[in-house]
Assembly symmetry: C2
């Protein structure tokens, strides 16, 4: 166990009434912010911190868990605690579903990802008929049953998003939309061929901490929230023809919208 070079981390203020583990978290956070520990770098081990600050191990662990909760560091069993590198961010443009993007053979996700130099994958594709949840039913105008299309998206092997599309069954039954691969331009192209010319989309954006199931499915590190996006597609008759419910790893996305001033 190498001794910790003094000065990199300050010492504690015993007169302060700030809890010791918070002071330790503060020192480490400052050191990270000031670049004394760079992205991906290993923090001093728990034993080193115990010795340096003269506290018990639980106090050190408590401090480290604060930083984990902030998404600043992550731990690897048997290796150490590391400054979390910021992963490359995928930008979702608000015009990604515009009609002019729908003539290609590939999905929006695939095209965008390849343009950004990433390797896209789609996973766990599942298509089935089911009874809608209360929320989905309300958004779709109370259909008795819906067609559900679920899938997970990965970039360079990392799962980043999963999405579930719901369409009223009277629209989607026995159409290419009910096939695993709906064909070029995706389900929006098929909807238009079926006479549902799309007029506009509503998107609702929320952020929250993930459920345990989402942590597992998206391999989320501690301190990473999710963006929850619900998009409803309307045809020119004003009918809601699809709802897409998407959960994204927040550290992998930035959403970009362009709004007219008028």
């Amino acid at each position: 166990m190498a001794p910790l070079s003094s000065g990199v981390l300050g010492s504690l203020d015993s007169t302060s009434d700030r809890a010791v583990f918070r002071q330790i978290a503060d020192r480490l956070r400052e050191a990270i912010d000031k670049g004394r520990f760079k992205e991906g770098a290993k923090l001093p081990s728990e034993s080193e911190l115990v010795e340096h600050f003269g506290v018990s191990r639980m106090t050190v662990r408590n401090a480290l868990s604060v930083l984990q909760g902030e998404g600043l560091v992550h731990s690897e069993h048997g290796k150490g605690v590391f400054v979390r590198p910021r992963p490359p961010v995928r930008r979702l443009a608000s015009d990604r579903f515009a009609r002019r993007h729908r003539d290609q053979g590939k999905s929006a996700f695939t095209v965008e990802a390849e343009a950004a130099g990433s390797r896209p994958e789609v996973d766990n594709l599942q298509v089935k008929e089911e009874r809608p949840t209360r929320d989905i039913a309300t958004r779709l105008g109370e259909p008795r049953k819906v067609l559900a299309r679920r899938r997970r998206y990965l970039l360079d092997g990392r799962p980043v998003e999963f999405a579930a599309s719901f369409l009223p069954l009277d629209i989607a039954r026995d159409t290419p939309i009910a096939q695993p691969n709906p064909g070029p331009g995706g389900i929006y192209a098929r909807l238009e061929e079926l006479g549902h010319r799309l007029d506009h989309f509503d998107e609702e954006v929320r952020a929250r901490m993930p459920t345990p199931a989402e942590v597992k499915s998206l391999h989320l590190a501690a301190g990473v929230p999710v963006i929850h996006l619900v998009r409803t597609a309307y045809d020119t008759e004003g009918r809601a023809v699809e709802v897409c419910d998407t959960v994204m790893a927040a550290d992998a996305y930035v959403l970009a919208y362009q709004l007219p001033a008028n």
Copy 2:
């Protein structure tokens, strides 16, 4: 210390290799999800859980901290641990800055909040000239100095958002925009009067865990992320005339966008 009625919480599976504190967190989460503890209800005390599960107090606290990290519960010193009530959500419509909303005397925030039956406040209003950060400078076309307008917004006494607007100094200096109260319609109305007719806005949306400063300023509970929104306003000449950097308590907001299909 009243005994814990059995059945509300299951018991542990000693054959499982899942950590005990995770199993306890799972039992509590299930009980909350199934409505056995409703919003605002108090969970069993730590001592009760210690007795019920036959583990040490640290193990129980570890389990509770998992649920706090998920934003499911919050603790109050001396009182107990409670199921987090979901606060009323403020909906931000994407047309909130459309020109037709700018003829009123009140700010968008005030009008919206009052319409929703909430009591709006603006706080910590601060206007000053400063050197832009790298990011702001890039977005605004590299002005040497900017006018910065910072403020915090509260709903029914709860801080929910703070925002900083930056404008190139050559546009804003010695105009009503440099006044604490820029007058009816806000700074966008003033910009148009100054000949900068607004064309469109770009918005970038991210979500992340808050910094300690944000936790303090927004009184954020554990397990509540922030939504970070950066809006750039462009005039009809294509010039960026304002950047607004906003940080919102994610449990208080849902952003709503309407996108044309074409």
